[in-house]
């Protein structure tokens, strides 16, 4: 029953060979010094998708709740940053926690009434939620969101008046620093009381309730934390692109996040990184065959589901195949 960061970290190293995270971190640090700006930008978006994947992984991987509207939370984070920055000149980095809080609060309000839904029902409602957010943004409520054009002129993040993050490599390090911190936080969360409660709810909601876990509370907590992290990703995304528009937050974005978690392996942090790499690098690698890349993408997904149903890097313990989760929700009330 170890808790706290150190116990969680030592557990990571017992389930994953120690050199994997070390090599990966070293690669992340060295990479931009050998890459052109174009490739650094690709790695930046890899980082954004890693953050989004990690955030959805809390909801989908840890608790097993089907959330196909995660782009909505991402959009809230991005728009809160863009609006507050362009209207009130609040610095981007100060808005980082604000976007997380706003997205988390939104998730709390929206998910409270739907949290009791199971499996595919929750999935359908979250799809609706994500679409409503996008349509609301298009309709320019209170003249805030700029309608289909979005909000322009988002500032660069400034560490101090002289230390401005405005080049590709600096953005790259910003996003990967946030990814690194999130991973450390999520690992200790996985091995905490909260993480155990989440996994139990995923494995058997009835038994979890019967052992005294406040199921509703922990499900909501997962949504709020997941949305908060998506809000953080939205913040960085908004300042990198300098503008936000509704078309960045379509249903397709939610699908990509879902794929990231499924490809990598539900509940597995290394898996999320692999999934995010796949989703963000794949279109770039296959750019010359742009016409066929969705065909290849679809085939790869099908083959993967047949060959490795648990994902490329499933969680050693507590990992579940997507399929078993679907079956589980089928007789949820037995």
């Amino acid at each position: 029953m170890g808790n706290g960061k150190s116990a969680g970290l030592s557990k990571l190293f017992t389930t994953t060979p120690w050199y994997v995270p070390v090599l990966f971190s070293a690669l992340v640090v060295i990479y931009p010094f050998f890459a052109t700006d174009y490739f650094i930008d690709i790695a930046f978006f890899f980082g954004i998708y890693a953050l989004l994947g990690l955030s959805l992984n809390i909801v989908l991987g840890e608790v097993g709740l089907f959330d196909l509207g995660h782009a909505g939370f991402y959009a809230i984070g991005a728009y809160v940053t863009a609006i507050l920055n362009t209207r009130y000149q609040i610095p981007i980095l100060a808005l980082l926690p604000v976007s997380a809080l706003a997205a988390g609060l939104f998730a709390y309000l929206v998910c409270s009434p739907i949290i009791h839904l199971k499996g595919d029902y929750l999935c359908i409602v979250t799809i609706g939620m994500g679409e409503i957010v996008r349509l609301a943004l298009i309709n320019n409520p209170f003249d805030l969101t700029g309608g289909p054009n979005g909000v322009f002129g988002v500032d660069f993040p400034k560490l101090s008046p002289n230390l401005v993050i405005d080049s590709s490599i600096e953005y790259y390090f910003l996003v990967w620093a946030v990814v690194g911190l999130s991973i450390l936080g999520l690992i200790s969360l996985q091995h905490s009381r909260i993480g155990r409660a989440w996994n139990c709810i995923r494995e058997d909601t009835v038994a979890a309730g019967a052992t005294g876990i406040n199921v509703r509370h922990y499900k909501l907590l997962a949504f709020v934390l997941g949305a908060g992290l998506a809000g953080v990703a939205g913040n960085i995304y908004a300042s990198k692109l300098m503008c936000v528009s509704p078309e960045s937050f379509t249903f397709w974005e939610s699908c990509l996040m879902f794929c990231i978690v499924l490809i990598g392996g539900m509940g597995s942090i290394p898996g999320v990184l692999i999934g995010a790499a796949f989703i963000s690098l794949f279109p770039e690698i296959f750019r010359p065959f742009a016409m066929y890349r969705m065909l290849v993408f679809g085939s790869v997904m099908i083959v993967m589901m047949m060959v490795r149903p648990g994902g490329f890097w499933p969680r050693k313990r507590g990992g579940v195949a997507f399929r078993s989760l679907l079956e589980d929700t089928g007789n949820g009330n037995a």
């Binding site: 996994n199 139990c200 494995e203 009835v206 038994a207 309730g209 019967a210 052992t211 005294g212 507590g318």
Partner: protein, 246 residues
């Protein structure tokens, strides 16, 4: 003396279909009471209603002078009622030890109490101590049942609700489980036991109720129910009748 746990006129409905149609039942401190009935009689629903896992349409559930209606499941566990659900439902990808500790989820501030409960569970089920680091999903059916009961005991309940603990177990294991149920009761835990194995259940219980289509068809001391011909016919099987020279 007022009973520790009692139900008055309990009605439970899934949508428009009433599963329990007005059940009154009581459990005194220190007792084992069994609820018998065929599939679909509403036995499991009854237990789930007590622990707040299904909503109550009408009637009341009272525990130690307090109404449990509409209380959340975790609040009920906190008050000392604990369920070992039907079909075991252990957490398969967690170790035996972790499953047990999850049973103590509501008692994290009481480390001394958790340690004592753990000792007690290990004493009742030595196999769980032996298999502590094994994944629960890899245990045999009987061991999983023991784990489910052990997990329910980890919250140090005053009332233990057992839902078909003999389901799918070999006869020798069934006997062992029922011996343990008696032992748990001796340690001061009141037990509400739902069973299809009427013969065994009436063997350990002091009193019993027979559920039929959501109503109580018969109730009384276990010995009386055991000798009741109608019940023998319905739940003990024809073989039991034939054996009796009458």
């Amino acid at each position: 003396m007022a009973p520790l746990l009692s139900m008055e006129n309990l009605v439970i409905a899934y949508g428009a279909r009433e599963v329990l149609k007005g059940i009154s039942l009581s459990l005194d401190e220190g007792e084992i009471v069994t609820v018998l009935g065929a599939n679909g009689a509403g036995k499991s629903t009854l237990l789930q209603a007590v622990c707040g896992l299904v909503g109550i349409a009408q009637g009341t559930v009272t525990y130690a002078g307090e109404r449990l209606n509409n209380m959340k499941a975790y609040e009920i566990v906190l008050r000392g009622i604990s369920l070992s659900p039907e079909g075991r439902r252990v957490f398969p990808t967690h170790t035996v030890e972790e499953n047990l500790m999850l049973g103590a989820f509501t008692r994290r501030k009481h480390t001394g109490e958790i340690a004592a409960a753990r000792e007690r569970v290990h004493a009742l089920f030595p196999i769980l101590k032996e298999r502590g680091r094994q994944l629960a999903g890899t245990l045999s059916g009987g061991e999983q049942q023991m784990l489910a009961i052990g997990r329910a005991l980890m919250s140090s309940p005053r009332v233990l609700l057992l839902d078909e603990p003999s389901l799918g177990l070999a006869p020798i294991l069934v006997k062992q489980i029922f011996d343990i149920i008696r032992e748990i009761n001796k340690q001061g835990v009141s037990i509400l036991l739902v069973e299809q194995n009427a013969h065994r259940a009436l063997g350990v219980a002091g009193r019993g109720y027979v559920l039929e289509n959501g109503r109580i068809a018969a109730e009384g001391p276990a010995a009386e129910l055991k000798s009741d011909e109608k019940i023998q016919e319905a739940y003990l099987g024809g073989a039991a009748l034939k054996k009796r020279p009458s």
